[in-house]
């Protein structure tokens, strides 16, 4: 990966919807080169997808998010990976990390209701062999997601002068 790839990643990481023509101009190259590099990054699984940063609180689609810390017993030969795969394959698990510290795994889980998530924890997650403990914490409000502040910012209006030297 060279400097241009890094710059390309920096730009699309902030805004994945920049048009190819604009990207080419921003990177001082041509559209074919950008296409080629993006395909390569996608093929190499550096870029794994393009999603929106959605503030579900502003929709009428109810969404409940929970952070679930999971303690597990690692397996000889497989370590955490096999048991992890049993968890992250569930649709409900949006994001999952292996952690240092007290718990082993952190799952970010989304559901329509608290009950749905509670049921997921009780019937799917806790019952997996090797899971010894779960701690579920529900999200009350999203302030920031993927680098974007989601709450109203009263002061975001720009006070800059129209012309300054």
């Amino acid at each position: 990966m060279d400097e241009l790839d890094k710059l390309l990643l920096t730009v699309v990481n902030k805004n994945a919807r920049v048009e190819l023509e604009d990207l080419a101009m921003m990177l001082d190259t041509n559209v074919d080169e950008v296409k080629k590099r993006l395909s390569k990054l996608e093929k190499d699984k550096v870029i794994c997808g393009y999603q929106t940063v959605t503030n579900w609180d502003r929709t009428d689609l109810s969404q409940v998010t929970a952070l679930i810390e999971v303690s597990v017993i690692p397996e000889r030969k497989y370590g955490y990976n096999r048991i992890a795969s049993k968890i992250y394959r569930f649709e409900e698990v949006e994001t999952m990390y292996l952690l240092s510290g007290k718990s082993d795994l952190l799952c970010i889980v989304r559901g329509k209701t608290m009950q749905q998530i509670a049921e997921f924890v009780a019937t799917r997650l806790s019952s997996i062999e090797g899971v010894t403990d779960t701690t579920t914490t529900f999200v009350l409000k999203s302030y920031k997601n993927a680098g974007v502040i989601l709450v109203d910012d009263e002061d975001s209006r720009s006070d800059r002068l129209v012309v300054s030297m």
Binding site: L7, V18, M25, M26, S158, V163, M165
Partner: protein, 404 residues
């Protein structure tokens, strides 16, 4: 109500002849020739501006947080005249690490109210009536009045686009006279975005050394250099005793409103400037100083992220202007491009005024920065990509109409 009328009456009766009262020096400073244009732009509703000289980013929160915390702790007193010693140490560390120029925080660093104060006190400390000071044209608007206020004579070097607005050894030699005392450089440059690289400086350093002049180098945009490593004129040991570095936090750290800058200079020069500073300012504002310490210690990543944003915008804007048919050289620093509008047959001011009236897009006529700015406009890219796209589409529309 009656009272207000009475006051108004009093004002009407007042017929002081202020032209006899305002000092000759203050009168000599010309108000900007394009004041009328700025008034027009600032009064118009819904203007899409490409006219600002400050970042669009807000200050990194670590800096704001440190400044707020200092206020909460009651750190609301004057600081030492030269500024907080911790800040001076950080500034000197930063200049050593980033620009390979070493200064002593105790005796060679001075914290000022923006780079602007640094420029002012540097000129005041050096210029006597009749002394010549070399400045660049086009150049930032504050330098010439600074010289005039000290009774000095501004001598302009007319920079050329074909040299990317760099100062060449020939130009410098031609400008130096026996009366030359000071030269003021500003690279990366406002308004052109021109940069002097290490190699460029190496060509003029021997001339500076031989002539014995003092160089004030305004390096406020140094961090915003897009190709190669930024270079400070303070990093050349052979002329170290002739260089005053002026910089600050406004541009790279997005802190324009905080008004915080600094001056790095050899001990004797620093002492002379500190003397002026201690009487006219006392000390730079305290909370911004605490913020700036944090900025220098912990915000290198934020600064780099902003630089990368400017870099991609610069590439975009330069390409767009050239595609539109306005020849634009690719500047290596700051956040301005300087497109040439001669192909339209208009003057800079005519072009900017017509563009403002037709598309409500505000750019700054090159002539605001001196006569050598004629034929150019200054376009700032301290705007989001979305804003730049809209503004550039409007400029394209304007040019299409012109060509019809």
């Amino acid at each position: 109500m009656t009272k207000i009328v009475a006051v108004t009456d009093w004002w009407c009766q007042c017929n002081m002849d202020y032209s006899k009262i305002i000092s000759e020096r203050a009168s000599t400073i010309k108000p900007s020739g394009i004041r009328r244009f700025f008034d027009l732009a600032n009064q118009m509703e819904g203007v899409v501006s490409l006219g600002v000289g400050e970042p669009d980013f807000t200050t990194p929160w670590k800096i704001s947080d440190a400044a707020i915390y200092s206020i909460e702790k009651g750190q609301t007193f004057y600081t030492a005249n030269r500024g907080l010693i911790d800040l001076r140490r950080e500034i000197c560390n930063y200049y050593a690490r980033r620009f390979n120029a070493s200064y002593d925080p105790e005796t060679e660093a001075l914290v000022t109210v923006g780079g602007s104060e640094g420029i002012d006190i540097a000129i005041r400390a050096l210029i006597d009536p009749g002394d010549e000071m070399i400045i660049m044209d086009p150049g930032y608007v504050a330098y010439e009045p600074g010289v005039i206020l000290s009774g000095g004579i501004p001598v302009k070097v007319h920079l050329k686009e074909e040299n990317e607005f760099k100062l060449t050894p020939e130009m410098l030699k031609a400008a130096i006279t026996p009366k030359t005392k000071v030269m003021l450089l500003n690279y990366p440059a406002n308004p052109t975005g021109g940069v002097m690289t290490k190699e460029d400086y190496e060509k003029i350093v021997p001339i500076i050394k031989e002539s014995g002049i003092i160089v004030i180098t305004d390096e406020i945009y140094a961090e915003l250099t897009y190709e190669g490593e930024p270079c400070s004129l303070g990093s050349f040991p052979e002329i170290r005793d002739q260089v005053i570095v002026v910089s600050g936090f406004s541009k790279a750290f997005a802190m324009t409103g905080w008004r915080l800058g600094y001056v790095l200079a050899p001990k004797e020069l620093s002492a002379a400037m500190t003397k002026i500073h201690q009487y006219i300012i006392m000390s730079a504002p305290t909370a911004p100083q605490y913020g700036a310490i944090e900025g220098l210690r912990a915000c290198a990543d934020e600064v780099e992220q902003m630089r990368l944003s400017y870099l991609t915008r610069r590439n975009y804007v330069v390409k767009k202007f050239n595609d539109m048919g306005l020849h634009t050289f690719k500047p290596q620093g700051a956040f301005y491009v300087f497109p040439c509008i001669r192909s339209t047959g208009m003057t800079s001011e005519e072009f900017c005024e017509a563009l403002l009236n037709d598309q409500k897009v505000a750019c700054v006529p090159g002539t605001a920065f001196g006569e050598s700015g004629e034929g150019f406009i200054r376009v700032s890219y301290a705007y989001s990509m979305e804003e730049l796209k809209i503004a550039l589409e409007k400029i394209e529309e304007f040019l299409k109409k012109l060509n019809k």
